[in-house]
């Protein structure tokens, strides 16, 4: 490896991270808007939320993972604010340790931002993955209309909001909960990486709505008017410029590597033809 290539490969990653950090610090709106894309996913979520009864009970299956939660966080916080604004009672339950840790963080934040504690209940962590989901679906029972239940008891939800991650996501909910609670609509927020996995469930109607890309999330957030509950939403939008620069950097790096590989293959092919 030449000195120049060695320096480039050594300095490349830190320079890229510095450029991205700089892009994050620039103003959010510089002409690039994530929310200007297709808004059908956002409409789907709004339709599902509009169909909820008054003071609904929403079971929040909170199981994102640390690796992808940064992608979901602004949308999750906006959606929780939207539901609280609609008078929903939120019952949080986690089925993965990572999801539980992130749920503790979100519940802590909601408490600090003075969300109405009467609308939030923490049902804690249920071990057992799919078996726990089955037990959860079997244990969901009727309670007094609109009444909140204490920790350890399960509510009779009007909707399930599943915040998904790599371990246990909306697919598991559709497979384990829907057959046992057919009337329970599932709305999901999941990272982009799960989109191919979840698209068939969305197309079949087993998922009522799904927000699974930064663009879908931005389009949904752009529709919200939360008034005083605006404090529950993240104050700044994710930097479109940083996302664009990150993707462009990845395209350049991968494109250059594929170009080199293609040129090498063509050289081999040409030498074979010549001989």
């Amino acid at each position: 490896m030449s000195d120049r290539r060695a320096i480039l490969s050594r300095m490349g990653p830190p320079v890229l991270l510095l450029v991205l950090a700089g892009a994050v610090l620039l103003p959010a709106d510089i002409g690039l808007r994530l929310d200007r894309a297709d808004s059908s996913a956002s409409r789907g979520v709004n339709v599902a939320l509009d169909q909820l009864p008054e003071d609904p009970m929403v079971l929040v299956g909170f199981d994102p993972d640390l690796g992808t939660y940064a992608e979901l966080r602004p949308t999750v916080r906006a959606l929780l604010g939207d539901l609280l604004g609609r008078g929903a009672n939120l019952a949080f339950i986690s089925l993965t340790p990572e999801g539980r840790a992130l749920a503790i963080g979100e519940l802590d934040r909601l408490a600090r931002l003075e969300a109405n504690p009467g609308q939030i209940v923490d049902l804690g962590f249920l071990p057992g993955a799919e078996a726990a989901l089955v037990a959860l679906a079997r244990g969901l029972g009727p309670t007094a209309a609109g009444a909140l239940v204490g920790p350890g008891e399960l509510p009779d939800p009007d909707m399930a909001l599943v915040i998904g991650g790599n371990d246990l996501g909306p697919r598991s909910w559709v497979e384990q909960v829907t057959p046992r609670r057919e009337s329970l609509e599932i709305v999901a927020v999941a990272p982009t990486v799960l989109l191919p996995d979840l698209q068939p469930y969305l197309a079949s109607g087993q998922l009522a709505a799904l927000l699974a890309t930064p663009r879908d999330g931005a389009a949904y957030r752009a529709t919200l008017e939360l008034g005083p509950l605006e404090r529950l939403v993240e104050p700044t939008e994710p930097s479109s410029l940083a996302i664009l620069l990150g993707i462009l950097a990845a395209i350049v790096v991968l494109g250059q590597a594929i170009g080199v590989r293609f040129a090498s293959a063509m050289r081999v092919f040409g030498s074979r033809e010549a001989s």
Partner: protein, 205 residues
């Protein structure tokens, strides 16, 4: 234990849960409930055992001065801090403010930072994978490149076209492959379960 016992047990419990799903029967529901509770208890026990094993392993590393002793000290210190915060007298467990602070101010940001570095390391790994003459790696990285182009967050006509193309790719070629995989896995699991229950072609053969 014979090698076919565990698959047979899995198949029997599976059939039990499936029957409980299809038939409304109080006795059946009770038996299925016992099986589910047992699975949950085993999972909880396995999780606790894994944590205890990790603690013992790291403590052994620290005492015998082998491996990464600084990392071992951090792992044990982190475990101790969370246990003390959640289990000290007067604490309210995982909803205790001290646990909330440790999780919100330390665990989540540190974890997110480590995962953010995946951006750089994955790019480097992709480049390295192309250094070997592997067709699979070339196809994988080319597909990643196409997806990255489709996900570019730009507006206007080009952005709308990219978004439409991404939607088409997701619903038609990728969706078809995933649906096929889901159906295939379900059929394979059903066939395997039936063969195991009926004793046809078990692993003892």
């Amino acid at each position: 234990m014979r090698r076919s016992t565990i698959p047979a047990l899995v198949a029997v419990v599976g059939v039990l849960l499936l029957t409980d799903l299809l038939l409304v029967n109080a006795s059946l529901a009770e038996i299925a409930g016992v099986a589910i509770d047992a699975a949950i208890l085993v999972a909880a026990g396995a999780a606790l055992a894994a944590v205890a094993s990790l603690a013992l392993r790291r403590a052994g590393d620290l005492v015998r001065r082998r491996g990464d002793s600084i990392g071992a000290a951090f792992v044990l210190g982190g475990m101790a801090a969370l246990l003390i915060a959640g289990l000290r007298p007067g604490a309210t467990g995982s909803s205790d403010p001290a646990v909330g602070w440790l999780v919100s101010a330390l665990l989540i940001p540190i974890g997110a930072t480590l995962f953010a570095l995946l951006f750089v390391t994955t790019l480097a790994a992709s480049r390295r994978s192309l250094a070997t003459p592997s067709r699979e790696a070339t196809v994988l990285v080319t597909a990643a490149l196409v997806v990255l182009v489709l996900l570019l967050p730009i507006g206007g006509g080009i952005g709308a076209w990219l978004s439409g193309a991404a939607g088409w790719m997701l619903e038609v070629p990728i969706g078809a492959v995933f649906r096929g995989m889901l159906v295939g896995v379900a059929i394979l699991a059903a066939v395997l379960a039936a063969r195991t229950v009926l004793g046809v072609g078990t692993t003892d053969e």
